[in-house]
């Protein structure tokens, strides 16, 4: 069975994981107008940054899901030993993270934007920044999960280790929306995405080899 089909089947059979990511995001975004102010001008001012922070936290929360199970049941050992290139399997792992966390987030972005009083154009730029940025978060989260899997208190280490690398994406994504779609930020985000897609699966593969030899 193709590893990509395997990931999709696992995702479909544990829908609670995806629902958890969506619920987390919706609840946090819902709480802000209640806690800060329902005033649309205040909300629209912080909406982009807020949505990016929530997306980052949701990605970190979902990071260990697939990796932890593969490590515990020994599938990771078999992936390392097999002939299929490890970077390819790691890319697929990151893709699965994006499917279960990034895609649902992208789908509910119009709803979240409306809740935070964004207008149509701002929601469009929000969607654009998520489209380019969320895959970067997934790639980094997969790398982080692979580095910390099997360690004592690895779950506590993961956000500390990976959060600093997520900050450039957060800043570029937020600025892109707040500047009303200035192309510089879009190009930077696209460059970061290309760089991550090419390099991070290789690093994740090395991390997987280290993880199974512990």
């Amino acid at each position: 069975m193709n590893p990509l089909i395997r990931e999709c089947k696992i995702l479909v059979r544990s829908p609670a994981d995806t629902v958890q990511s969506v619920l987390f995001v919706v609840i946090v975004v819902m709480l802000f107008p209640l806690a800060i102010s329902p005033d649309p001008t205040i909300l629209a001012g912080i909406a982009a940054g807020l949505m990016w922070v929530v997306a980052l936290l949701a990605s970190l929360l979902a990071a260990e899901r697939g990796i932890q199970a593969d490590f515990a049941d020994g599938a990771l050992e078999q992936m390392v030993l097999g002939k299929t290139p490890l970077w390819l399997l790691c890319s697929i792992k990151a893709f699965a993270h994006w499917l279960s966390c990034g895609v649902p987030l992208l789908l509910i972005t119009p709803l979240l934007g409306t809740m935070l009083a964004l207008d149509g154009l701002e929601i469009f730029w929000m969607l654009a920044s998520f489209a380019l940025g969320l895959p970067i978060l997934s790639l980094f989260c997969t790398l982080g999960a692979m580095l910390t899997v099997g360690l004592d208190r690895g779950s506590a280490l993961l956000p500390l280790l990976i959060a600093p690398f997520l900050i450039p994406t957060l800043i570029l994504g937020t600025q892109w929306v707040q500047s009303g779609g200035q192309s510089f930020y879009g190009y930077m985000l696209a460059a970061l995405l290309s760089l991550s897609v090419v390099s991070l699966p290789l690093a994740t593969g090395v991390a997987a080899r280290i993880a199974v030899s512990r």
């Binding site: 069975m1 696992i10 059979r13 599938a75 050992e77 030993l81």
Partner: protein, 196 residues
């Protein structure tokens, strides 16, 4: 096919084994015997290429990676035996046909649970799913860590037959056990640990 020279490995400051030397050629059956904690699993991981914190030399003369069945079987709890087996086999070679998967699993008496999620299977059943890979693999080297434990008589018999077929075809089987496995008359024994 396998040449091991002066292999030493220590964990937590104690030598698991020191200056281990042996070689295995095609058509041989090697049993690795030792008490709990004697380093059997570590030796298997070194031979499989999973663990490289050792001194000495391990040289394989094969093209395909060896097939390793360890304590963890690599079966995802959400997927069925057919799906898991298909994935594990296709990591090394072309994906097997559904019919072949059914035959392999049927041989290990799993025909009733082909499409149930693996989380509902017993430990022994999951072990047999992992071992059904042996029926489908092209790999010349089998590394079977504790393969015979937690198996019923029928399962042991099927596994013994598979191992004998593999050896007859010029492959290599390296397996470990706590107790002597009497099912083979031609196995060479490598003993690990202080008791020997």
């Amino acid at each position: 096919m396998l040449q091991v020279n002066a292999l030493s490995c220590h964990r937590q400051g104690e030598w698991l084994f020191k200056e281990l030397a042996f070689s295995v050629s095609g058509g041989e059956l090697l049993e690795i015997r030792g008490d709990n904690g004697a380093g059997k699993t570590t030796l298997f991981k070194i031979l499989a290429g999973l663990f490289d914190d050792y001194e000495g030399e391990v040289t394989w003369e094969i093209q395909d990676p060896p097939l390793y069945v360890g304590h963890r079987f690599g079966l995802n709890a959400q997927l069925s035996p057919v799906e898991n087996l298909s994935f594990l086999v296709s990591l090394n070679q072309n994906a097997p046909a559904r019919k072949d998967l059914e035959v392999a699993l049927g041989r290990f008496n799993l025909a009733d649970v082909l499409d149930q999620p693996c989380r509902s299977l017993s430990e022994g059943q999951r072990k047999r799913v992992a071992l059904a890979r042996l029926e489908l693999t092209d790999s010349q080297i089998w590394l079977l860590d504790e393969a015979f434990s937690a198996l019923d008589t029928k399962g042991r018999q099927v596994l013994t037959e598979l191992c004998q077929r593999q050896v007859a075809q010029g492959g290599v089987v390296i397996f470990s056990s706590h107790q002597p496995v009497s099912d083979f008359d031609s196995a060479r024994v490598l003993a690990l640990g202080k008791s020997v």
